[in-house]
């Protein structure tokens, strides 16, 4: 065996676990899901192929409205996370040095030491009618009676931004870290003010970080189940809830699979148009 075939073989062996993982856990289930989504029930345990599940989605307003709502709210949550995360990241990456820097970075990570379920219950303890904030407001005298802050869109938004923050801050800090301070100084030196330096130098430099942060946050938000269900309750439907209901409660795997596929198409479409709008490529932002 010569060296060339040997090195090709070792490359194949190294790639094997990744390939296996992709095929067994991602590709195969999705192929199966797609096939299931094309099943039409004609009689108990009798199916034929057709697009009835997809037609049902478009004809039933509850389905596609929840779908659009989820997409719009995910985009809003992503934007909000970016707006809050950017100054935070800039502060960590550029203003701080040494131990304080790693300490603040660690602080962003600390909430992830407890499970998402517990974190969400934490928010519920704060925001519910008999919760901490409601009691404080009554005690101070601002509110006359108990205030219910759970089960609305604003609460979902808070929860989503909170759970996503780390995934925005990490890529932003690493791209901002690589921004040479002298570029910012040169921006000022040549007559720029804070706004022009931000617009012409800092943001273009951080663009790969912004886009990759946004993609990750958007995907996580769109596919989030726990936060919208617990904080939104019955007043705020999330599309993942619909998928769950079809699979588990209604036992309608065919429609659930169709929903799952639509969600996949939607997220791919939005990420693709986001990349086109920001003139970035996937390899550039993820590489």
């Amino acid at each position: 065996m010569n060296i060339q075939t040997a090195s090709r073989l070792s490359l194949l062996l190294l790639l094997a676990p990744l390939g296996l993982w992709l095929v067994v856990l991602i590709v195969l289930p999705h192929v199966d899901m797609f096939l299931i989504s094309l099943h039409e029930k004609t009689a108990p345990r009798v199916f034929e192929y057709g697009t009835a599940n997809y037609t049902e989605f478009f004809t039933e307003p509850l389905y596609w409205r929840t779908f659009t709502r989820t997409a719009v709210m995910s985009i809003m949550a992503t934007t909000l996370t970016l707006l809050i995360g950017f100054p935070v990241s800039y502060y960590i990456a550029k203003m701080l040095r040494g131990r304080l820097k790693s300490f603040l970075f660690l602080l962003c990570l600390v909430p992830f030491w407890v499970s998402e379920l517990v974190r969400t219950f934490g928010w519920m303890i704060l925001l519910r009618e008999s919760g901490v904030i409601s009691n404080v407001l009554q005690w101070v005298g601002i509110a006359q009676g108990p205030v219910e802050m759970l089960y609305n869109d604003a609460t979902i938004m808070i929860g989503l931004v909170y759970t996503s923050m780390l995934f925005m801050v990490v890529p932003l800090v690493s791209t901002l870290d690589s921004l040479d301070d002298s570029l910012v100084e040169a921006g000022y030196d040549l007559g720029g003010n804070a706004f022009t330096v931000l617009r012409r130098i800092i943001i273009p430099h951080a663009m790969p970080g912004i886009v990759s942060g946004c993609i990750v946050v958007f995907m996580l938000t769109l596919g989030n189940y726990l936060t919208p269900v617990l904080l939104g309750g019955k007043n705020s439907l999330w599309f993942t809830e619909m998928i769950y209901t079809q699979f588990i409660t209604r036992f309608n795997w065919e429609l659930g699979a169709a929903f799952g596929f639509l969600l996949l198409v939607l997220s791919s479409l939005i990420v693709w148009s986001g990349l086109k709008l920001s003139r970035q490529t996937l390899t550039e932002t993820m590489g």
Partner: protein
């Protein structure tokens, strides 16, 4: 130039009693100087001497602890960097990689609020002047190191600043390109007529390009003068040691004659020298004696140097051949110290062999004695 010599002159840029402390550390210690319009002014000093701190204070990125900075006779201390009429060329150039070459040059002009066609004209003429016509749409990465250098300078010069601040901009280039850029920078300064303030630790950069050089050490200026002044008439031992190549002896003054002093080194070698730096050394004072390699006469025949004030017999250690700048390293027989001697350009000594006996001699006037340096930066010939 120096405000003690010419008080009436107006300066493009002036620093008065500038002090900057970082905690207990004094980075810049009471520095005053003025730079006339169109001057190429260098601040030369070893790394960590505070020269970059001065430059950053002029640019406005650092506030002085005390003292004043004046541009065209107006104090600029309250002016943020983006409004100061000085521009800076950074050590790593800091060209904006997210913009094209043309956009880099246009950036400052846009900030001034110039019209689109005006900016396009200025960018085009700037690119012509730096020898890169038609490169406006190229990305920064497509340019070579020297071309990037020129763009970084042009980007500042289109703004017609009162002074251009350059922070060791040649440091990142390789040797050959650096030699070339030295000449190019000097030409560019002539062409634009802008005042240049150039920071460097490389004495040859400072000597070749500058009209005036300030030698800086541990936060203060040792001497300000023309390159010739610094080389031939250093004021302090530090300047004598730092600027140019030199041989150094350390010793004690034994006797004061009417035109010189007699110094005896620790090895007991007597040397004749002249007091320099405006000091008159007393008998018993510790001094450093500096002799330039080109002041030493080298001969194979003892008679050729017999009339010289100082004479040494030594063995050739090696010849450091470098064309017209070739030098010989010679070990003193008596003390074992090594001397650096310039070889005449005629090539008559090119046949010298290792270990051969040579005779060295130099005049008293070429040996300059300064009060001893506390911290010896250069190696000594013998003690």
């Amino acid at each position: 130039m120096n405000d003690t010599t010419d008080k009436a002159a107006t300066f493009d840029l002036e620093c008065r009693n500038l002090v900057r402390r970082f905690g207990d550390f004094v980075a810049v210690d009471d520095v005053s100087f003025g730079i006339p319009q169109g001057d190429f002014f260098s601040i030369l000093g070893p790394s960590g001497c505070g020269k970059t701190t001065i430059l950053r204070m002029m640019a406005g990125f650092l506030q002085p602890t005390s003292g004043d900075i004046l541009i065209k006779e107006n104090s600029v201390l309250d002016m943020p960097p983006n409004r100061r009429p000085v521009n800076m060329v950074f050590q790593q150039l800091a060209l904006f990689p997210m913009m094209s070459v043309g956009e880099n040059i246009a950036y400052g002009l846009q900030r001034k609020g110039l019209g689109k066609s005006d900016i396009a004209d200025k960018v085009r003429s700037a690119l012509d002047r730096i020898g890169l016509p038609g490169s406006g749409d190229k990305s920064i990465k497509q340019l070579s190191g020297g071309q990037q250098q020129r763009v970084a300078i042009a980007r500042c010069l289109v703004l017609e600043p009162a002074a251009l601040l350059l922070d060791e901009p040649l440091g990142a280039l390789d040797l050959k390109l650096r030699e070339h850029m030295k000449i190019e920078l000097k030409k560019m300064q002539d062409k634009f007529g802008t005042t240049f303030i150039y920071i460097t630790h490389d004495q040859s950069e400072a000597l070749v390009m500058s009209d005036h050089v300030a030698v800086m050490n541990e936060g203060h200026f040792e001497q300000i003068g023309t390159p010739q002044d610094l080389y031939y008439h250093p004021d302090t031992a530090f300047v004598a040691a730092f600027v140019g190549e030199t041989n150094r002896w350390h010793g004690r003054v034994e006797q004061i004659n009417k035109d010189g002093i007699k110094v005896v080194t620790a090895d007991g070698v007597p040397l004749l020298a002249t007091s320099a730096g405006g000091e008159q050394h007393q008998a018993g004072a510790e001094v450093d004696i500096f002799v330039r390699p080109e002041s030493v006469v080298i001969a194979t025949d003892a008679d050729r140097v017999s009339s010289m004030d100082n004479r040494i017999t030594g063995d050739l250690v090696s010849i450091l051949f470098n064309g017209a700048n070739s030098r010989a390293l010679i070990r003193d027989r008596q003390t074992g110290g090594e001397l650096d001697v310039a070889l005449p350009q005629t090539g008559e000594f090119s046949h010298l062999k290792r270990g051969q006996e040579v005779h060295l001699g130099w005049g008293m006037a070429q040996a300059k004695a300064f009060a001893a340096l506390t911290d010896s930066g250069t190696k000594e010939v013998g003690t």
